[in-house]
């Protein structure tokens, strides 16, 4: 690939824009959180993600605010003669039940939704974190192993292990693992661990490839000449360069993990009742959509918003970290931003 700085229209422009987005004398590069925040889409995504996390954290209070809990049955709100569908319109939405109730049980949907956020986000974020750590560790180790002192074997071994992990039929193994682990083991944690075990390999691949590229950079050679150990070099020179691709990939993986949890729930392998998760809600509700659309829409829309938010965040991160970003720096947004920066300076 071209490593030259050329007269393409975006390259210097990107630098101009990001430089403008920074206060003068700024000590941070254009990428990262600041870069995400600087973009409208990125900001919207970040706010949404923040809100979702907040909902998960405050679930008990939110449910209490509504005056419901996620597990109580409400027989009286259901019509037993018509398959246990909720009485009233829109799935039984009322002042007491803000999003209506679940058919056949009468459990409050709002309460289940906010409590479900804990599991869904927890599993997705936890799994992603796990995948990241494992992927980084293996990828870095394989990428840094060099020809001398058996390094090639380390690399070969780790690469084969990565291949193996990639070759696992994912869902199939989830089924076995979920069945093998004793019932007393907390389900969300187990789900997280399983998704971790099955999803770290792509990250390891990316990290390995990226590390191999970064390793050839001259600043790494310069660091070697300072007498730094390989751990220090990995930490100080290589790792920062991995932040961009890994952060970007992470944002793609989080929604994937959420959808995977929904898939496992669909196969009856998700969290155990009476716990709710968005995946569980969605998978049990799908058959109801002709009769009680509200029941389906609630988890479906939530999941959608969530996925879109994380995907948006991912896109924003990619743009923020990538100086060669294909999104032209000279979009109107960029110019406005710059003008604002100038003004700020003037004051």
């Amino acid at each position: 690939m071209s490593g030259h700085v050329t007269l393409t229209s975006t390259e210097p422009g990107a630098a101009v824009e990001s430089a403008a987005a920074l206060p003068t004398g700024a000590q941070r590069p254009a990428g990262g959180a600041a870069g995400v925040w600087a973009r409208r889409g990125g900001r919207a995504a970040a706010v949404t993600v923040g809100l979702l996390v907040l909902v998960a954290l405050t679930a008990p209070w939110l449910a209490a605010l509504e005056g419901q809990d996620p597990n109580s049955f409400h027989d009286t709100l259901l019509n037993s003669a018509t398959g246990g569908s909720p009485n009233g319109t829109f799935g039984g939405i009322s002042a007491q039940h803000w999003l209506g109730v679940e058919p056949t049980t009468g459990r409050d949907l709002f309460a289940r939704l906010v409590y479900g956020a804990r599991v869904s986000l927890g599993v997705a974020l936890g799994a992603t974190l796990g995948q990241l750590l494992l992927g980084l560790l293996v990828g870095l180790a394989a990428g840094l192993a060099d020809g001398r002192r058996g390094g090639r074997w380390v690399d070969a071994l780790l690469s084969r292990v990565t291949d193996l992990a990639l070759a696992l039929p994912t869902f199939f193994f989830s089924i076995a693992l979920l069945a093998v682990v004793p019932q007393s083991f907390p389900r969300p944690l187990l789900l997280g661990l399983i998704l971790t075990g099955l999803g770290w390999a792509p990250i390891a691949r990316i990290v390995r490839a990226e590390t191999r590229v970064l390793r050839e950079r001259e600043y790494v050679a310069a660091a070697v000449l300072t007498g730094a150990g390989s751990w220090r070099i990995a930490r100080r020179e290589i790792l920062p360069g991995l932040v961009a691709p890994v952060a970007t990939y992470t944002a793609i993986v989080i929604p994937q993990n959420m959808v995977a949890e929904a898939g496992l729930s669909f196969l009856g392998l998700g969290v155990r009742p009476p716990t709710s998760s968005w995946g569980q809600m969605l998978s049990t509700s799908t058959t109801w959509f002709q009769v009680d659309p509200t029941y389906v829409l609630v988890p479906a829309l939530t999941l959608l918003v969530c996925v879109l938010a994380f995907a948006g965040l991912g896109e924003a991160l990619r743009v923020a970290f990538d100086p060669k970003s294909p999104v032209p720096a000279h979009t109107r947004r960029g110019r406005r931003k710059q003008a604002a920066g100038k003004k700020g300076e003037a004051r």
Partner: protein, 529 residues
């Protein structure tokens, strides 16, 4: 325009051309000239002076980007009204690009489509404008490839199978196929070896003479332009500060900027500063029978070399001759396949673990590409301080003082310490890299083409800096470059490399009287003013 010949017949007429990048950055601020068939116009100036902005504007290539172009670029065609490229429709523009106006770019490595065969690329461009049959296009491709000195059999190769010089020739062949009336060459030789550079320049000149095509030759190197162009325009910050016939302008530059530009160009005939030659018996580094193989590639095939304490040893040679490999082996970034490198009498290969880490600090390196040798995510100050931190220095105040002191010594300020590499110019980055190499007070610094990526003025400054530092820090330098004149200006002795071997080593002063034919060839290729 002072030249009456120009008014007889004009192909290209540029009037008050302005190029304004968003920002707004006025890259080009009012350029005017006229160009007759067969004429060569040189456009020179330091980096960032607006040369490329002008070159691109001549083909209307700013269109579709947010860059604004003002003024007129008039293309005169026989029997038709002149076309103002700035106002022409997209279709009109497309039809003149190629057959009327063609361009050769600075980066031969990336300017060809990597997915298509070289021959196809030439043939497609030809067919696009002539509507010729496939067979005719193939025929034409063969012709032009032969003309630029490439075996037509290689038309089936992909660009990556070609060297930089060959790719540049392919680009020229592509232009040639369409017989354009004006060829714009934006730094066509900057990325190339001196020997190749000379060939390309000769080729361009021949073509001009043969086809009567007009040539706009852009370069930061006055030497390159001087040999070819009849008239030269000197650009500075987007403005033409001086213009005139080449001989006159180079002989008696009026503008101080032009003068500075000329002075910065290293010359083979420049007087060498007086210097005491270091003692021949005080050997710092000794290389014996050094071989380095990369798989089947033999990068070094038995190199013997001594570096005396306190001297500057220059290493020259064409691309791929093994200069970098030798340099990296000297500082133990590369292990030899066989042979030894002795530093102060100790075999480098015998250093292990803690000893290796400690002792290798005495050997430092400055790299060719200032962009890649500084961690883009790290502040300059941190990068420079890193070696001290590695050594265990924890006192931040002391670190800061040391770093700032050294930065100031290399011509930067404390303000630069708090910037990221991308907020510095290339020359400034190279200074920071030098500061980082110096901070551990090493005994030997290997400079691997430290100035090749810089424009002449900056190059001169950095070379000057190295010269000063050598005295001040009591350094031994190994200075690698492909430019003989530069090497000569800093070195005490020069080693000439070719295909993994050192063909001869001579004193800098004797460089102009080489023994070896290869050195002779290198010398001949250097453009002269």
């Amino acid at each position: 325009m002072t030249d009456p010949v120009l008014q007889v017949e004009t192909v290209l007429q540029v009037q008050d051309l302005r190029v304004i990048h968003p920002g707004p950055v006025t890259a080009l601020d009012g350029l005017s000239f006229e160009l007759a068939p067969g004429q060569v116009l040189g456009l020179v100036g330091e980096s960032g002076s607006g040369k490329s902005a002008a070159a691109l504007a001549l083909l209307g290539l700013h269109r579709g980007t947010p860059t604004r172009v003002e003024g007129a670029v008039l293309l005169h065609r026989p029997d038709r009204p002149a076309l103002d490229l700035n106002r022409a429709s997209d279709t009109e523009l497309r039809t003149v690009r190629g057959p009327e106006l063609a361009m050769v770019f600075q980066e031969p490595l990336t300017s060809l489509d990597p997915y298509r065969r070289v021959g196809t690329q030439i043939a497609t461009a030809y067919r696009l404008h002539t509507g010729a049959s496939r067979a005719d296009a193939r025929q034409r491709t063969v012709e032009v490839l032969e003309r630029v000195g490439i075996d037509p059999k290689r038309a089936r190769d992909y660009p990556h199978q070609f060297s930089g010089g060959m790719r540049q020739r392919v680009l020229i062949a592509m232009a040639l196929a369409l017989r354009p009336r004006v060829l714009v060459a934006d730094e066509p030789t900057t990325a190339l070896d001196v020997t190749v550079q000379a060939q390309i320049l000769r080729l361009l000149d021949e073509l001009r003479a043969e086809t009567g095509m007009a040539l706009v030759l852009v370069s930061h190197d006055v030497g390159v332009v001087g040999g070819l162009a009849a008239e030269v325009v000197v650009l500075r910050q987007g403005r033409a500060v001086e213009r005139g016939a080449t001989g006159a302008l180079l002989g008696r530059p009026e503008h101080p900027y032009t003068r500075a530009l000329l002075e910065a160009v290293p010359r083979l005939d420049a007087p060498l500063p007086e210097r005491d030659a270091p003692a021949a018996d005080d050997v710092l580094v000794e290389v014996e029978g050094l071989r380095v193989d990369f798989g089947s590639v033999r990068a070094l095939r038995g190199v013997d070399l001594t570096v005396r304490r306190g001297e500057t040893l220059g290493i020259v040679g064409e691309s791929g001759s093994g200069k970098s490999t030798l340099g990296r082996t000297l500082v133990r970034l590369q292990d030899p396949s066989s042979g030894v490198v002795r530093f102060e009498g100790a075999d480098l290969a015998s250093w292990r673990g803690g000893e290796l880490r400690r002792r290798r600090r005495e050997l430092q390196m400055v790299f060719q590409d200032p962009t890649s040798s500084l961690n883009p995510r790290r502040l300059i100050g941190d990068s420079v301080a890193e070696p001290l931190r590695v050594r265990g220095e924890r006192d931040e105040a002391k670190l800061r003082a040391e770093v700032v002191g050294l930065l100031e010594r290399v011509g930067l300020t404390s303000d630069h310490a708090d910037r990221h590499p991308h907020q510095l110019s290339g020359g400034q980055r190279q200074r920071a890299a030098i500061a980082r190499a110096l901070i551990l007070r090493p005994k030997l610094i290997v400079c691997d083409e430290p100035v090749s990526a810089l424009d002449v003025t900056t190059q001169a400054q950095v070379v000057g800096l190295l010269r000063e530092l050598r005295e001040e820090f009591d350094l031994t330098l190994v200075f690698i470059a492909h430019d003989l004149a530069v090497v000569r200006s800093v070195s005490d002795r020069v080693a000439v490399m070719r295909q993994g071997e050192i063909v001869e080593t001579l004193a800098a002063a004797k460089l102009t009287e080489p023994q070896h034919a290869y050195t002779r060839a290198l010398l001949d290729a250097v453009p002269r003013l």
